[in-house]
């Protein structure tokens, strides 16, 4: 059940926020991963984009992703206030009113989509609009507080950036960009559920039906394992379809084995501090895993371009 907004109780004053608070609304850490995967999509795509247009595309994608983050913080301010990880965000801390975050997010969303559409191409612009809309309407408003499958489906929003980068160069969507989408899509559930396993109480308190809260930790561990089994072969596919080369093939296999080992430990160690430690380890490694996969893919394409 959605919580009543308690933001008013904190009595934020309009105009009290500084520039840093608005930057925080853009979720800069998420933004950096978005930019990184979008660059990979752009470099891996066949064809060339003028560097100036490439930079404009990246800025628009980054701002669009940030705008989605701001809109998420506007809508979720009531629950953010009760969770350790999010209590220091600008709205729950009383630094700005929800309305300010809403206008900020809405204006940036419109500008980023229009900029990408007008200056680069409308396939990329439309994909960015879908990403923002999906994150706000489908994930934040509809699924997050209703179903334990929230992050599985909502994860699609985070999977779009390499596809947008690819579309910025080619003007279309192809099997390669769908595969990059799928890698992030399969990666999201084990990544997030590992976090949810040891942050379970936070989610329980605010009534967000994360899988460990609703189905219990045992079921969560089983599903982490199942998604990991799907993720690892998916992540190896780029080398098979020619999207990546031999270095990526070796990297994806080695990292995949490590991922499966850690996911297996999460499944087997279910009691005490060791269980939390195993989940934390998988969570930490999952970030490194995705980063390295995309970094190697990016590196391979960059080297190939330099040699050409």
């Amino acid at each position: 059940m959605p919580l009543q907004s308690n933001v008013e109780r904190l009595a934020p004053v309009s105009g009290g926020a500084n520039v840093g608070d608005f930057v925080q609304l853009l979720k800069p850490r998420v933004m950096s991963l978005v930019v990184f995967t979008a660059i990979t999509g752009m470099v891996a795509a066949p064809g060339v984009i003028h560097p100036v247009l490439g930079i404009i595309a990246l800025v628009a994608i980054a701002i669009g992703a940030g705008a989605a983050g701001a809109l998420n913080m506007w809508y979720d301010a009531d629950i953010d206030a009760h969770m350790a990880r999010t209590a220091a965000r600008p709205i729950p801390r009383g630094r700005m009113t929800p309305d300010e975050a809403l206008s900020f997010g809405a204006v940036l969303s419109v500008f980023s989509v229009l900029t990408l559409g007008v200056l680069v191409n409308w396939t990329a612009g439309a994909l960015l609009a879908i990403t923002i809309g999906f994150y706000l309407f489908v994930y934040t408003m509809w699924l997050k507080r209703r179903t334990p499958q929230n992050i599985v489906i909502g994860g699609a929003a985070g999977s779009f950036p390499p596809m947008i980068g690819w579309a910025a160069v080619t003007g279309n969507v192809s099997i390669e960009s769908v595969l990059m989408f799928l890698i992030i899509f399969m990666w999201t559930p084990p990544h997030f559920w590992a976090l949810a396993l040891y942050r379970c109480r936070d989610y329980e308190r605010v009534g967000v039906p994360m899988l460990p809260v609703v189905a219990g930790p045992t079921e969560t561990r089983r599903q982490i394992w199942l998604y990991s089994l799907l993720l690892v072969p998916t992540a190896a596919l780029p080398s098979v379809i020619g999207l990546a080369g031999p270095v990526y093939a070796v990297t994806s296999v080695i990292l995949g084995a490590m991922f499966l080992y850690l996911a297996w430990k999460v499944r087997k160690i279910t009691e005490g501090r060791e269980a939390d430690a195993a989940a934390k380890k998988l969570f930490g490694f999952s970030i490194l895993y995705l980063f390295l996969l995309f970094a190697v893919m990016l590196g391979e394409h960059a080297v190939a371009r330099l040699m050409a």
Binding site: G15, N18, V19, F22, L53, F111, T115, L119
Partner: protein, 54 residues
């Protein structure tokens, strides 16, 4: 300006200072947007920038 500021308490001064910084940030962002559109126009038009029939 200084005489107006002297009548304010610290909290109000701080609020004004933040407001000024935000106005500045908005101005910079708008300036960047103009630069962005200018640069993209030049890149997209390429040599045709000099094609002026009139």
């Amino acid at each position: 300006m200084a005489s107006v500021m002297s009548g304010m308490n610290e909290e109000e001064k701080e609020r004004l200072r933040r407001q000024r910084m935000r106005s500045l940030a908005i101005a910079l962002a708008l300036g960047a947007l103009v630069a962005l559109f200018y640069a993209a126009t030049i890149v997209r038009l390429g040599g045709n920038v000099f094609n002026r029939p009139y």
